[in-house]
Subunit: 225 residues, 2 copies
């Protein structure tokens, strides 16, 4: 069974957990705090990023792009409906949105909020910086407007089919929702879409996550939020 | 013929230009300054990122991940030796390093130097911030040490074969070299590797680039630098 070296609130790790759960790939998990930059992690990955997917042959697969491709290439049974569209231009729209989440949404929102609210609790003397929290939440509001706009005319994020792009956004939103940073009252379209995803069996694995001394926001695990 | 909407010094655009040149895919180019955030660009791509690859059927393919996959899926002739390894775990190492360049090297080095040195010339009253330039160059020195270390034991960046990872790093280094930011005297292994890449016919397209009122550094276009 492959092992995922992850942090429960790391959105890239969540994306791989969702993918594997959707595909029915069993996964062992090993929790790590990447911000502590421990030698064990730096030996595996000098970039100190997650996830790391350790294959059955004990080969570490480093980073989100490599992990996505290895799950698709090695661990996906052909009998299972895929998360990658068959038409190249539909795939292109999926990759556009996956890049949006992995780079833009992460850079402008998620990584700041995780760093300020979660990582800083482990770094002596560090406290969340209110101006950073404010900027990240203002950026999040802009992103939510874009997702609402997209989902007003599309069933799924990249079009008519559910794809990896849906899971990439859901991975980020679920982390942000855990920390109580999403105002669902202003996001009707995205809320409807998230509610459909959250009801999938694959999502259960995330909804049971708990971070020590930081309980999830009210509604995090509710299917009716 | 597909058209690449690009900026000559945008490393992600350079990666697609290198890929297409290596694969023998003819490419029209249309230059744009993404930092001006013109309506024409925002209509195509609200993230205002490059590259955008417009297909023969006039469909815009947005962003670097989508463009890489479309070039691989649609425009690569089967007769041409590929830049993506056939074994899934070799591909994983390639994607780890592609992610390193697209995310880490870009975030810590290239995007700051391009913004300070190139973009700010077009933004009224903005001047390069010395502390940002210093931090980016200190980060670059650390990255170069890592590339030297990798290339001391590998023929190509991801192993025995030339892959997309080599082109992803070369795209960034060529932009940094244009701006005169690389100290080759401290990078013997990377210099040897870059010299091999620079001699390939595919690289010629980049070496003729000129940005108005900003000539390239001495040595930029020399094969013996």
């Amino acid at each position: 069974m492959p092992t995922l070296v992850h942090h429960p609130l790391d959105p890239a790790s969540r994306l791989i957990r969702l993918m594997c759960a959707e595909y029915g790939v069993p996964l062992d998990v090993e929790e790590i705090k990447p911000w502590l930059r421990e030698p064990h992690l730096l030996d595996l990955n000098p970039a100190a990023t997650l996830p790391i997917l350790v294959t059955d042959e004990d080969v570490p697969v480093i980073g989100i792009l490599a992990s996505i491709h290895v799950v698709e290439d090695i661990y996906t049974l052909e009998t299972v409906g895929g998360l990658v569209p068959t038409h190249p231009l539909d795939r292109a729209e999926m990759w556009r949105l996956v890049e949006w989440m992995l780079v833009k949404l992460n850079d402008e929102v998620t990584r700041y909020l995780v760093e300020e609210k979660i990582a800083k609790r482990d770094l002596k003397g560090a406290t969340p910086e209110p101006s950073v929290l404010r900027a990240a939440k203002a950026n999040l509001a802009e992103h939510m407007l874009y997702f609402n706009w997209l989902l007003a005319s599309r069933k799924w994020l990249a079009g008519d089919e559910m794809t990896l792009a849906d899971f990439a956004l859901a991975a980020h939103l679920s982390t942000l929702d855990y920390m109580g940073d999403i105002d669902w009252s202003k996001a009707a379209e995205t809320r409807d879409w998230y509610s459909r995803l959250k009801s999938r069996p694959a999502f259960r694995t995330l909804l049971n996550d708990r971070v020590v001394a930081m309980p999830p926001s009210k509604g995090y695990a509710d299917l009716d939020f």
